[in-house]
C-alpha cells in the first residue's frame, strides 16, 4: 500500500504544483528541506531526534525572516524504515518534488548508499548527518556531503583506545552484517591487526534476531579480553545480556550505534555497566557553544537525542547554502555548498573535503556508568 502511494503521491503533488504556479499566490513561496530517517520501527527514536534537529534549524531560520526575498522554508520529513528499498522510493519522491532543494539524510549507511545515486542523478544536495560508512563518499558523487565522522576513523580509533587504555589484546568481533555495522567492524579489525592485537574471530549476526547464545557459547571458551560489536543497540543489548548470562566477562565495546540510553534500558542497569562506545563527537553538554542549541531544543522537544545536534548542524549548513544561492535552483545550491567554507556548528567546525566528508573528525569515547552514558574523553 505505502509503496504504491509513494509513486502516486509525487504525480498528484506535481499537478497541484502546476496549478499553484499558475495561480501566482501573493504570500511567500516555499522551499523545502527534506529530512529522511527511520521514523517508525526499532530505530525510530534515533530518526526522530535527527529530524527534530533539522526542524529546529528551519524554524529558527524562518523566525529571522524570509530566507531570500519571496521565499520561506519548510521541512518535509519522510520515513525510510531503515529499509534500503524504501530509501530508494523516498529518494525518488524527494527528487520528484520540485520544491525540495536538498535532503538531510539518510540516517543509516545502508539507506544513504542506494539513495545517494538518485540524488546525484537529480543534482540534488544530500547531507547525511549520521551515516558513517566510508564507502559513501568514495562513489564520486559530488552531491554527497556528511557531517558525521567516518568509520574508517571511528573503527581504528576504537582499536587504539582498546589497546592503550583497556589493555585489550585478545579480541572477538561481531557485526550485524549491515553496511554500517560490518564496515565499522572491518575497520576496527584492520587496525587491531596492524597494532598486533589477536583477533580470535569475526562473525555476523542478523538484525532483528533475538538469540545469540549459540555464537556466545562458541566465544566463551576463547576467553577474549574484549568483544567488539559493530551494530545498533537493540542487538547490542541482547548480546550483552546473553553474554553475561553465560558468564562471559569480556569488556564490551562498540561504535556510535551503541551510545544510546536505550541500550541501558534494554540491557538493564547492572549488566550494561562498563560498556564502552565510541561516538563521532563528544559530549554536547560539555561544549559551551552548544548551550543555546540545547536550551532551544529542550524547550521544544525535551532532552536532546544522540543525533539531534548533527541534524541541526547539517540543516544549518544546507540553509546557509540556500541563502548564498539566493535562487530556488538545485544546481545553484549545490555549487554554493561546493565552495567549501568552514561552518561553526554546535558539534564543532565543519569543513567539507573534496569528497564531501567532514575534515574535522573527532571521536569521543563514552562509557555506561551508573546507568548513564558518560563521556570519558577523546579516543586516541
Amino acid at each position: 500500500m505505502k509503496q504504491t502511494a509513494g509513486y502516486f503521491f509525487p504525480i498528484i503533488l506535481l499537478s497541484v504544483l502546476v496549478y499553484a504556479g499558475c495561480g501566482g499566490s501573493s504570500s511567500t513561496q516555499v522551499i523545502k528541506i527534506g529530512c529522511v530517517a527511520p521514523l517508525t520501527g526499532d530505530q525510530a527514536q534515533l530518526g526522530i531526534d535527527t529530524c527534530r534537529g533539522v526542524k529546529l534549524a528551519v524554524d529558527q531560520a524562518n523566525q529571522k525572516g524570509e530566507i531570500f526575498p519571496g521565499y520561506h522554508l519548510e521541512v518535509l520529513s519522510l520515513d525510510d524504515q531503515h529499509n534500503p528499498a524504501q530509501a530508494v522510493n523516498v529518494a525518488k519522491r524527494f527528487v520528484a518534488d520540485l520544491d525540495t532543494l536538498g535532503v538531510i539524510g539518510h540516517f543509516n549507511s545502508s539507506c544513504s548508499k542506494p539513495a545517494s545515486a538518485i540524488y546525484h542523478q537529480a543534482r540534488m544536495v544530500q547531507i547525511t548527518a549520521t551515516s558513517t560508512n566510508p564507502e559513501l563518499s568514495r562513489q564520486g558523487f559530488d552531491t554527497f556531503f556528511r557531517v558525521a565522522a567516518t568509520d574508517d576513523v571511528q573503527g581504528p580509533r576504537g582499536a587504539h583506545y582498546a589497546l592503550r587504555h583497556l589493555k585489550a589484546n585478545r579480541i572477538f568481533i561481531i557485526d550485524d552484517k549491515t553496511t554500517y555495522g560490518k564496515g565499522l567492524a572491518d575497520e576496527f579489525e584492520k587496525e587491531a591487526r596492524a597494532q598486533g592485537m589477536e583477533i580470535l574471530g569475526h562473525e555476523g549476526i542478523t538484525q532483528g534476531d533475538k538469540d545469540f547464545s549459540s555464537l556466545l557459547t562458541k566465544i566463551k571458551p576463547l576467553n577474549p579480553d574484549l568483544i567488539y560489536f559493530g551494530g545498533i543497540f537493540p542487538e547490542g543489548a541482547l548480546l550483552l545480556r546473553q553474554a553475561r548470562g553465560l558468564n562471559i566477562s569480556a569488556t564490551f565495546m562498540g561504535g556510535d550505534g551503541l551510545a544510546n540510553p536505550l541500550l541501558v534500558e534494554l540491557a538493564t542497569s547492572p549488566i550494561a555497566e562498563g560498556t564502552y562506545a565510541t561516538m563521532v563527537g563528544g559530549d554536547m553538554h560539555a561544549v559551551p557553544t552548544a548551550a543555546p542549541f540545547i536550551r532551544d531544543y529542550e524547550a521544544q522537544y525535551g532532552p536532546i537525542g544522540q543525533w539531534s545536534a548533527y541534524g541541526y548542524d547539517a540543516a544549518n549548513i544546507l540553509i546557509q547554502a540556500v541563502r548564498r544561492a539566493g535562487t530556488k535552483d538545485r544546481q545553484t545550491v549545490l555549487r554554493a555548498l561546493r565552495e567549501s567554507r568552514p561552518f561553526q556548528g554546535v558539534t564543532g567546525e565543519v569543513v567539507f573535503d573534496p569528497k564531501g566528508d567532514n575534515q574535522n573528525q573527532f571521536i569521543g569515547v563514552f562509557q555506561v556508568q551508573n546507568g548513564k552514558i558518560v563521556y570519558i574523553g577523546p579516543a586516541e
Binding site: I205, G208, S214, L215
Partner: protein, 306 residues
C-alpha cells in the same frame, strides 16, 4: 576449561529452550491446519500479542506483588492474562475474518490471514510504540550448574511449562469429547457435521487452544530475551510454521518434535558452522527433510480424499 562436549551440551540447552517455544507456536499452526486446512499466517502475530499482553499484565500488576511469595502468583496471573487475551483475540479473528470464508476457495482465507497479520502488527506498533520494549524480569534469574553446563531457572521454567501445556493438549485431544470431535473433523468435515458435531464450535476451540499456547509462548519469549518488538512475531512465526511442516503439518506430536528439532538444529548450526547462516541453516534443513519425506518427519495427519 570447557571441553568440546561441554560446549556441545551448552549449545543443546540453548537450542532446546527456544525449541520449546517454537513447538508451542507450531502446535497452533498444526491444530488449525489439521481441521480447516488453513495456514493461519496471523498466528505468529498472536504470539507477539501474547508477549505484549504479558508485558501489560506485568506493568499493571507488579506493584501489587512485591513480596517473594507474590512472585509465583504474579507469574500465574501474567500467564493467565496473556493466554486468555490471545484466546479471545483468536476467537474474534476466527469469527469475523475466517468463518465467513469457510467455504471459499482456499486462497481467500490464506490471504485474509496475511491481512490479519499486518493488522495486528500495526495495531501493536501504534498502541505500544515502534521501539523495543523492555520486558520486566518476573522471577530473579539464578544459574543452576548441571555438571559444567549452566542452565538458568528460567530455562527450566520454560521447559516445564511447555511440556506441561503440550501434555495437557495431547490428552485433551485424545480423551475429551471436543478433542474427539476435532479429530473427527480432521478426518472428514462433512461426515462429522452429519453425525451432529458442531463444526463452528469445534473449529473455534482449535483456534482458541492454539492461540492460548502461543500466548504462553509469547510471555516466555519476553521473559527469556527481555526485549520485545512488534516485529518479533514474524520470524518466530515463520520458524514455528517451518517446525510444523518439518514434523508433519496437522500432526500434534509432529509439531512438538519439529519445534524442538528446529531450535536445536538452529543452535548447533549457529554454534558450529556460522551464526551468520543461522536462519539459512534452519530453512535449509527443512528443504532437505521435505525432499526425502515430503509429508514431514511424523507424516501429515490429514486424510487424503480419494
Amino acid at each position: 576449561m570447557l571441553s568440546a562436549l561441554d560446549i556441545f551440551l551448552q549449545q543443546l540447552v540453548n537450542g532446546l529452550t527456544i525449541g520449546m517455544i517454537y513447538a508451542l507456536i507450531a502446535l497452533g499452526y498444526t491444530l488449525v491446519y489439521g481441521i480447516v486446512q488453513l495456514i493461519n499466517f496471523a498466528h505468529g502475530e498472536i504470539f507477539m500479542v501474547g508477549a505484549y499482553l504479558g508485558l501489560l499484565a506485568c506493568l499493571t500488576l507488579k506493584g501489587l506483588f512485591l513480596g517473594s511469595g507474590g512472585a509465583v502468583l504474579l507469574l500465574i496471573l501474567v500467564f493467565f492474562f496473556a493466554m486468555s487475551g490471545t484466546a479471545l483475540l483468536a476467537l474474534l479473528i476466527e469469527r469475523f475474518a475466517y468463518r465467513p470464508l469457510r467455504n471459499a476457495p482456499r486462497l481467500a482465507p490464506l490471504i485474509t490471514a496475511i491481512g490479519v497479520s499486518f493488522l495486528l502488527q500495526n495495531a501493536v506498533m501504534l498502541f505500544f510504540g515502534p521501539s523495543d520494549k523492555s520486558f520486566p524480569g518476573l522471577i530473579p534469574v539464578t544459574k543452576v550448574q548441571l555438571g559444567v553446563v549452566s542452565v538458568t531457572n528460567l530455562q527450566i521454567l520454560i521447559a516445564v511449562v511447555s511440556v506441561l501445556l503440550m501434555v495437557i493438549l495431547h490428552f485433551y485431544v485424545k480423551n475429551t469429547k471436543t478433542g474427539k470431535a476435532m479429530r473427527a473433523l480432521a478426518d472428514d468435515r462433512q461426515a462429522a457435521s452429519l453425525v451432529g458435531i458442531h463444526v463452528n464450535r469445534v473449529v473455534a476451540m482449535a483456534f482458541l487452544l492454539g492461540s492460548a499456547l502461543a500466548g504462553a509462548g509469547g510471555v516466555m519469549f519476553g521473559m527469556y530475551y527481555n526485549t520485545i518488538n512488534f516485529h518479533d512475531g514474524y520470524l518466530a512465526g515463520l520458524k514455528a510454521f517451518t517446525a510444523a511442516v518439518l514434523g508433519g503439518i496437522g500432526n500434534i506430536p509432529g509439531a512438538m518434535v519439529g519445534g524442538v528439532l528446529m531450535g536445536v538444529l538452529e543452535s548447533l548450526g549457529a554454534g558450529y558452522i556460522s551464526s551468520e547462516w543461522k536462519n539459512v541453516f534452519a530453512f535449509f534443513i527443512l528443504i532437505v527433510i521435505l525432499l526425502f519425506r515430503p509429508s514431514g518427519i511424523l507424516g501429515e495427519r490429514v486424510v487424503k480424499k480419494v
